[in-house]
């Protein structure tokens, strides 16, 4: 394999949680040296989320599953940027840096004097990207933003929901990963331009705006016809039948589902043969797409009468073999065990110190013939794991200086929590059985490591 493309690119990463870390994770996967900067009194909050084995003992902040997925392959430097000494060290790193990635609310970098105009004074060809909720300018610029709010704000939720029901969110923070990928592309475009021109630049990415192209069809319909979208559940404006159909429950009574799209009359004929109901193909109510759209209720009833007897994954294969789009609604465990993803090498196995191996999904949805992006076995960094390497190696600080910085709490490897750590340990213990009782989780599977083949050797 040829070297990865970004091997001579160093990135200072001031982002937290999901969108920004997705951007820098992609760049790390492509070979960049990404130095993630946190403060010990302001660690990335997802270090507290989904602690592996739900174990809050010892250095729990180094064992977050959520943090692992977003930060595998990066380095960790702690710097308290609220202290003058922390900001000064940051500024000393900038000349050694190609790209700065940050995702604060716009006022923050300005208040700290770390905005682009200041940084490019010391590194004229610096590339910097700010990924904020609503961009750097405009009346909402300093609104704080979470991905759970940006999906509805970008109008995606106006298209999401059951028929005649309210707008709904997705079950994940949809705009965060989307804008994270976009941020990585924006940096690659800026690096491309720098190779040609020698110039750096500043990128203002509004996560709100970056998500809006998804609703392009609905925006055009409004611009052309003053028509607002109607929520149509899982149906399609163009194809029928299309929907999500109930299948046979599994042994423990959990519901299973299958999505189906029939794109044209030929596929409808093939569908009817495949499910052993040739009489449906003769039924005049369903003869062409307009008939099928008009009689979608009856159609859904009939299809449901077939799917309810089927195992959802087998039904997917049966219909796909007949040339019809069908897909089982997999639960997250089934995703982890899916033979297609496994055969394609979708999961990187990563040994997280103190917690063992875990499968982590590839973040770039592509395979390359001449490179293999990914964390290359590297774990998500422990808090401050690379303090000495970065400050000692890159800036040449002595052991004495580093010790003093530790004493002044400019750097460190343990979070400064508002409440005592013992209380934090208590608070971070997730009440999984209560989540199960309220209906948000299935029964815990204690043998999950065995099922995934990641037992300790």
């Amino acid at each position: 394999m040829t070297a990865l493309l970004l091997e001579n690119v160093r990135i200072l990463d001031l982002t937290q949680v999901y969108a920004g870390p997705t951007c820098s994770r992609l760049l790390a996967d492509l070979g960049a040296e990404v130095i993630k900067i946190e403060g010990t009194s302001r660690i990335d909050v997802i270090r507290n989320l989904i602690l592996l084995d739900n174990n809050t003992q010892d250095d729990y902040w180094n064992r977050s599953g959520y943090f692992l997925s977003r930060n595998a392959g990066k380095k960790s430097l702690t710097l308290d940027l609220t202290q003058e000494a922390g900001r000064e060290l940051f500024l000393r790193l900038v000349p050694h840096t190609d790209v700065v990635v940050e995702s604060f609310t716009p006022r923050v970098m300005r208040q700290m004097g770390l905005h682009y105009d200041a940084l490019r004074q010391i590194k004229p060809d610096l590339i910097m990207i700010s990924m904020s909720g609503y961009g750097q300018t405009g009346p909402w610029a300093n609104y704080s933003a979470f991905g759970m709010g940006l999906e509805p704000a970008s109008a995606i939720s106006s298209l999401t929901g059951y028929r005649d029901g309210p707008p709904l969110r997705s079950g994940i923070s949809f705009t965060d990963p989307l804008t994270g990928i976009m941020g990585a592309g924006a940096v690659l475009a800026a690096l491309h331009y720098r190779r040609r021109s020698g110039k750096g630049q500043y990128i203002d990415l509004s996560e709100h705006e970056a998500a809006i192209p998804i609703v392009g069809y609905a925006l055009m319909d409004y611009a052309m016809n003053s028509r607002l979208p109607q929520r149509i559940g899982n149906r399609s404006p163009w194809f029928a039948p299309q929907g999500c159909y109930r299948c046979r429950p599994n042994e423990s009574g959990d519901d299973n589902w299958l999505v189906i799209t029939v794109c044209n009359d030929e596929e409808w004929q093939a569908f009817c043969q495949a499910v052993g109901r040739p009489q449906w193909a003769e039924d005049e109510r369903f003869a062409d797409v307009l008939d099928r759209i008009r009689h979608q209720e009856e159609l859904d009833e009939l299809i449901g009468s077939w799917t309810r007897e089927q195992e959802h994954i087998e039904a997917m294969h049966l219909l796909q073999r007949a040339g019809v789009i069908a897909a089982a609604v997999l639960n997250p465990k089934q995703v982890l065990l899916d033979p297609h993803l496994r055969e394609r090498g979708y999961w990187d196995m990563i040994e997280q110190p103190g917690a063992g191996r875990r499968p982590v999904a590839k973040q770039i949805g592509a395979r390359f013939s001449a490179m293999e992006p990914g964390p290359r076995g590297r774990h998500a960094p422990k808090l401050g794991e690379h303090n000495h390497e970065v400050l000692g190696g890159l800036l040449g600080l002595s052991e004495e200086e580093l010790t003093q910085l530790e004493e002044e709490k400019v750097i460190g490897d343990t979070p400064d929590t508002v409440v005592p750590l013992a209380v934090m340990r208590q608070a971070l213990q997730q009440p999984l059985s209560a989540f199960q009782q309220m209906g948000a989780l299935h029964a815990l599977e204690d043998d999950y490591k065995k099922q995934l083949g990641i037992e300790a050797e």
Binding site: D53, F146, Y202, T261, G439
Partner: protein, 400 residues
């Protein structure tokens, strides 16, 4: 005139639909020359999907096509014919990138696969965009955004517990795949600048949604928990949900520090700070969410979304608006940022388009329209040194 970031790149675009065209739109909008090759009969199928002005179908007025194909050139070419393939190969001599979205095996069947071309075009970056990729048992399966939402596990956790799993609107998997392809192409172009060599990129729409998994699979591999469909709710931060209010909807998000004080102040009831549901500890609220809803819903129903949004943000609570396309177009923030751009089109008239998804200080996005069907066939063939008589013959033979 400002420089364009990707002005030195030339792209041959054999894609249709959403994912591939969104990828090449991003390349074109930031400066690449994109030559889109469409089938002679009707072109890209999105030219038939609408929306159309006054619902009158016409291939040059299709809204989704106009949205996804800005700044491209369009030629028609039948690559299943030998003469069409000759023209494609001539185009590739001047190209950096080929993007295609045919079913796996289709182009290799025409001797236009990567392995057929790499000897002749060693620096070519060749990118294929398909639902499930070029390898693995599902490679021959058909797919769309809905199918990818299902197989990625995202749909399993979206929707209400007493209803069917719900897909996210707007065909989002297609856009994820387009972004993945765009990032992958820029990565391969970067590598080429060091090695001089191109490569093959196999983009899977399903795997492009992988970044959107958030914490679903890690909850199982982390401690054996499988999420259920539960109002599309964020399990660890309640509330982070859409609530009805006096004049519509509002996203109520308490954020990391909304309890006890911020939320109590917003609700104009400081006594609530003593309520156990307003404790900074997250779990009691998540578990007793119905009780919390009973406290906040009456207040929300008496206040407008704009009032709630403004006051919540003053308290640094990350509330958000629930907008529809009309509200987006009228939104004062987007207006002040001049996000939307008006683009004139000879057939469709002046239409509002989405603007730059990110703003580069030195190399801005360019604003330009989508091409008419076959608009640039003549120009592109003349550039390849076909003469006008040749082009008449190619047209008569149904090649171009």
């Amino acid at each position: 005139m400002a420089d364009l970031a990707l002005a030195d790149l030339r792209v041959i675009d054999l894609t249709q639909g959403i994912a591939g065209p969104y990828c090449t739109k991003l390349l074109a909008d930031y400066g690449a020359e994109v030559i889109k090759i469409e089938p002679l009969e009707g072109g890209d199928y999105t030219r038939r999907l609408g929306p159309f002005p006054n619902d009158i179908p016409q291939h040059d007025r299709a809204g989704l096509f106009l949205h996804l194909n800005t700044n491209k050139k369009a030629i028609t070419l039948d690559i299943s014919k030998q003469s069409g393939r000759v023209i494609l190969r001539k185009l590739l001599t001047q190209a950096d990138i080929l993007v295609e979205s045919y079913s796996p095996g289709y182009l290799p069947g025409l001797e236009l696969g990567y392995d057929d071309l790499k000897a002749e075009f060693p620096s070519l970056v060749y990118c294929s965009v398909t639902p499930f990729g070029q390898t693995g048992p599902y490679r021959i399966y058909k797919g769309n955004s809905l199918a990818c939402m299902a197989l990625s596990g995202l749909m399993y956790v979206s929707g209400d517990p007493d209803k069917e799993p719900l897909c996210t609107g707007g065909e989002p998997a297609e856009y994820f795949a387009g972004l993945s392809a765009w990032v992958s192409i820029l990565a391969a172009v970067g590598q080429r600048s060091q090695t001089g060599k191109g490569q093959y990129i196999d983009v899977s729409m399903l795997e492009s949604l992988g970044t959107a998994d958030e914490y679903n699979t890690i909850m199982y591999s982390g401690y054996g928990a499988i999420r259920k469909r539960f109002y599309s709710r964020h399990l660890f931060l309640y509330p982070s949900d859409i609530f009805p209010c006096q004049d519509g909807y509002i996203v109520v998000i308490s954020g990391a520090s909304g309890f006890p004080t911020g939320m109590a102040l917003l609700l104009e009831n400081p006594d609530l700070q003593a309520n156990p549901l307003f404790s900074p500890i997250l779990w009691p609220r998540t578990i007793n969410w119905r009780q919390l809803d009973e406290i906040i819903t009456p207040y929300l129903m008496n206040h407008s979304w704009q009032d709630l949004l403004t006051r919540a943000q003053e308290l640094r609570l990350p509330f958000a608006a629930v907008l529809d396309p009309k509200m987006l177009l009228e939104n004062e923030h987007l207006r002040e940022r001049q996000f939307f751009v008006d683009i004139d089109h000879p057939e469709a008239g002046r239409l509002t388009h989405t603007g730059a998804p990110f703003r580069m200080s030195e190399t801005p996005m360019r604003v330009g329209r989508a091409p008419l069907l076959s608009e640039h066939t003549q120009e592109v063939l003349l550039d390849l040194e076909y003469n006008k008589e040749d082009i008449v013959i190619l047209r008569e033979r149904g090649v171009a």
